[in-house]
Symmetry: C2
Subunit: 462 residues, 2 copies
């Protein structure tokens, strides 16, 4: 009954081992209710430990109500503690191993090797040293004012967008921003109008919240705003600067139509500006937000421009939504950590940020050129690029091919990661001939190699 | 018509200023559809800039569809761009200033001045230098395995809790953990059984999700489990190690009853262990999770033990929920940043964490004693402490007083921050005589001073 195996080398104290062993015996019924425990002296001798150790173990059991003690009488097991054995739950271990692909054209991956690690570290260290004790505490749901000021300055110098820092709310990236927006607007909207195709992963954020989704077709220029139609107050989610995935820039005529629709329908527009910093020919596209700061929620992120692990994005929010956002964020995840915010503010302030974008724009432009060359080399004239020369991916139309789910599965089995546009379609089958090539994370040589592998797979067929 | 004021000292390039000025004139109707723009040569002369600058500004307008150009003819404003003036939205600026209180007994505030900044910085810097480029990217929704292993080891050595790292999921703090849990369980549960009183801010997280809330009364020992009653599958949210706010440790008898209820009712139990590291007499309380790892979702946080700005917490999750959690987190906010995770893992591994807890336990115990002394000094025998000697706050019963919302408002006006237990009650009026004193962030002198101010306020009456 009292055999307890003690591990004397363990990091767990002996009293805790004894406590845990007795507790388990009580819970599984080996020590029934009312049973007397041995005296501390007896058990100390039996287990070859000090009497004090047993005393402490018993005290823990008393404090948590497993046993009762009364002066001069033995301690006894309390009533009603026994639990029937646990039913077996199936183990379900699915830490997926990072697969190694022969061709990996996945989208949304910046090149992490090019990031100026050293200067970021210097800045992060300095800012951490300078931080006040208060900044280690709760500092509010809107984010660090220093960072909001720098984002405001940057939006102005890079996109001529005049935004007051009070309208900027820091988030833990774009997905998090959309998640909070989805919560924020749900009561009023309940329906989401969205480009079709769109980023199907971002869409999932809204679907999880319970939105009804209505896809509006996209063409070479982006959302076909003339087809906009929805319940009053429905939320609109768009990527006007660089449509994902097809790459169009929404022309001014449609922008005006979109704003007009939102005003008439009582809708807010969520503008997801996920990669417009990288435009290779011509100036950056001006955000839709500039056309109506009271209707548009602008979502920006640093995941693509700097690195995803940073987990910082932001929204520019119409004044009417400020208080609701603050309340909601407080009960969602409170706030961002301060360290990344302070480092990013300094990275922006010292213009290291602008310099990095300038450098990466060149790097990514070369890769885009390498992708186009490789397509030409392996597929001749049997393909057509879609969209603007921007961002980290390219949609390509192969007129004679059909890319659907079976094709995608087969390609994965051949260690090829390239996504059919169809994967991102709400209504399947509208863009059957197109593939998406992410190239930001690939060196020109890797792009060429990947294209060769893909070409072989095309030749072989399914 | 063509007057454009250029700011030649501005950070915004001249081409962008010209572009923005023309765009605004188009959108507000000053430049109507079909209107011809001046030639680039004319405008360059008028504005005294190079012709190339005008060319680039026009190119931007063309790319975004504001104007059309055709070889040899003047560029013209596109159709359908004019927007009616925006309706005025009310500005709503509410950045609340940090109020300065004469007595500030708010709860849940650790002492940030005691944190070992220097050694944390050293560790953070080293870990950042050692990080691989991959770790700057997307590293998965479960959190860094290094950190999960250290948390597992720490749970074992401090609470004799055997948890496999694969069952640990890193979160951005406890609020975030509860937010994701609320999402995760909503389809199955829809009703929340919760201690009454409970932490009303944490409860808000579930209310925002749409849960129906049913409060179960609490007494000196914690949740009165014999009153548990709810819809099949309802979720149960408890603080068994140190009931918030009343401070009881749930006795074993009730723990067993709670587990039994959950099994019979098909419920999961959310165990929020927000501050049990700080127990001043006796060993740490053993988590409920140990009694049934398939029914209990254990929520831990480092906000109180280290500092809130860290934004790291974790859940220990039944295997059945792993995959759903991963999917959900991916579409909620993707993951935590890597830097804090790596630093915390090292802080745990080197036992600086254990050392800090040991030190703070002494500090907080002294403050608790100072609080009890100050209560005795100013209020004699007219009060009774509630709950276990643990955590960062104390519930105190003043038999002859009534603390309700009007009292709370009046005390705030007198620059006193102390919360009536009633504030955290779901059914108001069940604990009218109790106040909550947070003392973790206060030096003994500040506690004494605060108590004097509170006493004066008591004497004066409302």
């Amino acid at each position: 009954m009292w055999e307890i195996e003690l591990q004397r080398q363990s990091e767990i104290s002996l009293k805790r081992q004894i406590y845990a062993a007795l507790r388990d015996k009580i819970l599984n019924g080996k020590l029934p209710a009312g049973e007397a425990l041995p005296s501390t002296r007896q058990l100390a001798m039996a287990l070859n430990v000090s009497r004090n150790t047993i005393n402490e173990a018993y005290d823990m059991l008393i404090a948590e109500g497993y046993i009762h003690s009364s002066q001069g009488a033995p301690s006894r097991i309390a009533d009603g503690l026994q639990l029937s054995p646990k039913p077996n739950g199936g183990m379900n271990e699915t830490d997926e191993p990072a697969a190694s692909f022969l061709a990996d054209f996945r989208t949304g991956q910046p090149d992490l090797r090019q990031f100026p690690r050293y200067s970021w570290q210097q800045i992060a260290q300095k800012k951490m040293r300078d931080m006040t004790a208060d900044q280690f505490g709760y500092t509010g749901p809107q984010g660090m004012s220093e960072l909001r000021e720098e984002i405001s300055a940057w939006l102005y110098r890079s996109k001529a967008l005049a935004v007051h820092p009070r309208d900027i709310f820091i988030t833990a990236g774009a997905t998090h921003a959309l998640h909070v927006v989805a919560d924020l607007m749900f009561q009023d909207a309940r329906e989401l109008l969205v480009e079709d195709p769109c980023n199907i992963h971002m869409l999932q954020t809204f679907i999880n919240k319970g939105y009804a989704v209505r896809g509006i077709p996209v063409d070479r220029e982006g959302l076909r705003t003339e087809l906009l139609d929805g319940r009053p107050g429905s939320l609109v989610y768009v990527t006007p600067s660089h449509q994902f995935p097809l790459g169009g820039i929404l022309p001014a005529f449609r922008r005006a139509g979109l704003i007009r629709f939102a005003r008439e329908n009582g809708s807010y527009i969520v503008e997801d500006d996920y990669d417009s910093e990288f435009r290779y020919y011509g100036a950056p596209v001006s955000p839709l937000y500039a056309m109506d700061p009271e209707r548009v929620i602008y979502v920006g992120t640093f995941s693509k421009v700097l690195f995803p692990g940073l987990r910082i994005g932001y929204v520019v929010l119409p004044a009417e939504l400020h208080n609701r956002w603050r309340r909601l964020r407080t009960y969602t995840d409170v706030q961002n950590p301060p360290f990344e915010q302070a480092a990013l503010a300094e990275f922006l302030r010292t213009r290291k940020f602008d310099k990095h974008i300038g450098k990466m724009r060149k790097v990514y432009r070369e890769r885009r050129e390498a992708l186009l060359s490789a397509l030409k080399e392996y597929f001749g004239t049997g393909w057509q690029p879609w969209g603007d020369a921007a961002g980290l991916h390219l949609a390509v139309d192969f007129q004679d091919m059909v890319f659907d789910e079976p094709w995608m599965k087969a390609s994965r089995q051949h260690k090829i990661r390239v996504t059919p546009v169809d994967y991102h379609c709400i209504r399947k089958g509208a863009h059957p001939h197109k593939l998406l090539f992410g190239y930001g994370h690939l060196e020109p040589g890797e792009i060429c190699k990947g294209m060769e592998v893909l070409h072989q797979f095309f030749e072989k067929g399914l």
